[in-house]
Amino acid sequence: MEIIKSRKLKYEYIKYDDNGQPCESYTAVKDVDLDVKAGQFISILGHNGSGKSTLAKHINALLLPTEGSIWIDGTDTKSVEELWKIRQKAGMVFQNPDNQIIGTVVEEDVGFGPENMGIPTGKIWKRVDKSLESVGMTAFRHRSPNKLSGGQKQRVAIAGVLAMHPKCIILDEPTAMLDPNGRKEVLAAVHELNKTEGITVILITHYMEEVIDSDKVFVMDQGQVVMEGTPREIFSRVEELKKYRLDVPQVTLLAHELKKAGVDLPDGILTTKELVDKLCH
């Protein structure tokens, strides 16, 4: 069964005038049919304002569709009584780590989710231990979150979601504010979770290099999914991506340029190793 499935999903932002009457509306997402299998690593690309974050917020029922439906692990997000179950199944990590950390000590922050769920204390600590271990932050458990680096804070935020035992984690530009090292740390942690724990990952990013190891990539434009495929399929279409205000990894662009200049290379080269192999052997 699909962990995330949507049909004809549409979302309109409505602006109200001073009398509380709707006066303007803006369609942020439309006609989105999504099928994500449990355990997949999915990336979503798209320019600012293309609808990525609006779509993401539907996955844990922060927003409900204006039209159409979305099901998380078989549950329609419109069923209000299931709301907390849905949020527990699909956890979200946002761009700015400082906006989502509330505890004064790392381990307390991670325990906040399960505590809210009414888990017995002993079990909460077990979950905290396990979650901190999964993101490699055990050594920092007694520290104050505001003394951590950006990458470390994001890993704490991810641990906080993990402690709720979700089936799916949605990360909305989790690396936008991080330095190269922080970016590497966070991505490694997320890939590890996907591989070892089988957690479904939805990664929204503007960094093309972060996408190359995904199972599937969706490209959004004007609220719709306009491209869908493996990273290699997507990044083979350099010119089309540029049309959607996107880019390709530098190595892919270099290969594309060399090919245009007459060098015999396949489309959609994704890694340095591939390019070196093709040019030197």
Binding site: H47, D179, P180, H206, V251, L254, E257, V263, K273, H281
Partner: protein
């Protein structure tokens, strides 16, 4: 006409158990008209450094001077300095506050004492320079997209006509096209108005494409200072301090290790392409 730091040290909480040196004995000079990139991992001292450039922070010891004048000497107008050395903070759109775009951009020049008409003229010029369409001038800044807000915020600093423009991660959170547009615009201003630009960024690819000189900060000290080619040649050392070189640097080094004699100092896609094509041509002829 330059910005100069001599033996600048900045210490947080001096004399207490929490004493921390954010800057240690930094000496550097940025001549007028240079395009400088500053890189360093989170907590390396980049932000502390740039806040010394326009007198938002006062060094614990050492001298900061602008145009040969010590900015902390008695009688020096820091207010004037700050309109000459403009600083665009990270996520500057969080500082937008006016009812419409044009008024927001007018705020700076009005504070400089210009009349409403003059301020508006400066504001419109600045908005044109950042490429914001006229139809948005009367919109609320909060109705704009992330990239547009960022432009409005940058225009707010440009409207004061600074001689030095410092930008702290101006492209964080923008899509690739938005990144290119903002940086191209800044490079254009640098060329047209000959302003000095200091760009703090985590994107090595961006830095490689635009700047004349890179300053690398590590633990409050200057780790490297040189042209992009010089600095990125140390890519292994950069990795040790939590940074990286542009992807191109790695490609070129690996190609060479695999026996294709190409130029390892190439740091942009264009340079790499030219160098690889040349190397392939040579190989064919051998």
């Amino acid at each position: 006409m330059s910005l100069k730091l001599e033996h600048v040290t900045y210490t947080y909480n001096p004399g207490t158990a929490y004493e921390m040196h954010a800057l240690k004995d930094i000496s550097l000079e940025i001549p007028a008209g240079q395009f400088v990139g500053i890189i360093g991992h989170t907590g390396s001292g980049k932000s502390t450094l740039i806040q010394h450039f326009n007198g938002l922070m006062c060094p614990t010891s050492g001298v900061v001077s602008y145009k040969e004048e010590n900015i902390w000497q008695e009688g020096y107008s820091l207010k004037r300095l700050r309109s000459q050395v403009g600083l665009v903070f990270q996520y500057p759109e969080h500082q937008l506050f006016e009812a419409d775009v044009l008024s927001d951009v007018c705020f700076g020049p009005k504070n400089q004492g210009l009349s409403n008409e003059e301020a508006e003229k400066k504001a419109i010029e600045a908005l044109q320079q950042v490429g914001l369409k006229e139809k948005y001038y009367k919109s609320s800044p909060f109705e704009l997209s992330g990239g547009q807000k960022r432009r409005v915020a940058i225009a707010g600093v440009l409207a004061m006509e600074p001689e030095v423009l410092i930008l702290d991660e101006p492209t964080a959170g923008l899509d690739p096209k938005g990144r290119d547009e903002i940086l191209d615009q800044i490079a254009y201003l640098h060329e047209q108005r000959k302003i000095t630009v200091i760009l703090v960024s985590h994107s090595m690819e961006d830095i490689a494409r635009y700047v004349d000189r890179i300053l690398v900060m590590n633990k409050g000290e200057k780790a490297f200072d040189g042209t992009p080619k010089e600095v990125f040649a140390h890519y292994k050392e950069l990795e040790q301090i939590g940074l990286a070189a542009p992807q191109i640097t790695y490609i070129m080094n690996e190609l060479q290790a695999a026996g294709l004699p190409c130029d390892c100092s190439a740091i942009t896609v264009e340079e790499a392409k030219a160098s690889i094509l040349k190397a392939l041509e040579r190989r064919k002829n051998d």
